[in-house]
Symmetry: C2
Subunit: 84 residues, 2 copies
């Protein structure tokens, strides 16, 4: 586990997303990987998760760094849906 | 207006987001720019919008290209909240 300068545990991970979405009347299969991070309680919760577990995440997107354009999903709540 | 190979109008734009979020018990100011695109009806709707208008967007994230890692927000619904 890593820690922020303020001493909070932080966990960086990659979220793989699969879904089907309707766009312009057509169904399309969506697959994407979203860089994600969890701080404090959310980071602790992630210790119980293993690679391949299916989760539902609520959170917000923010820029990874002040100058960069890469987005990272900040986890506010994570819910285990199914063991991988 | 550009068109997809199937002849659907498509509009690429950059969405500027500002909000305050709570993370690990601390309030933080979030600013980010999200690459976005709208196809068909959503693209037509965007013709009525001007730079600086405040909007609420519902949609989904997907990879910009098959091999890349950059994410793009696909607009499903766009709602004008306030003229810029």
């Amino acid at each position: 586990m890593r820690y922020t300068p303020a001493g909070l545990p932080v966990r960086h991970f990659s979220l793989s997303h699969d879904s089907e979405q309707i766009e312009a009347g057509f169904q399309r299969k969506i697959q994407c990987k979203v860089p994600a991070m969890a701080v404090a309680d959310a980071a602790q919760q992630m210790k119980e998760l293993a690679l391949g577990d299916m989760v539902r995440i609520d959170g917000f997107l923010a820029q990874k760094s002040r100058m960069g354009t890469q987005l990272v999903l900040h986890v506010k709540q994570i819910q285990l849906l199914e063991r991988g």
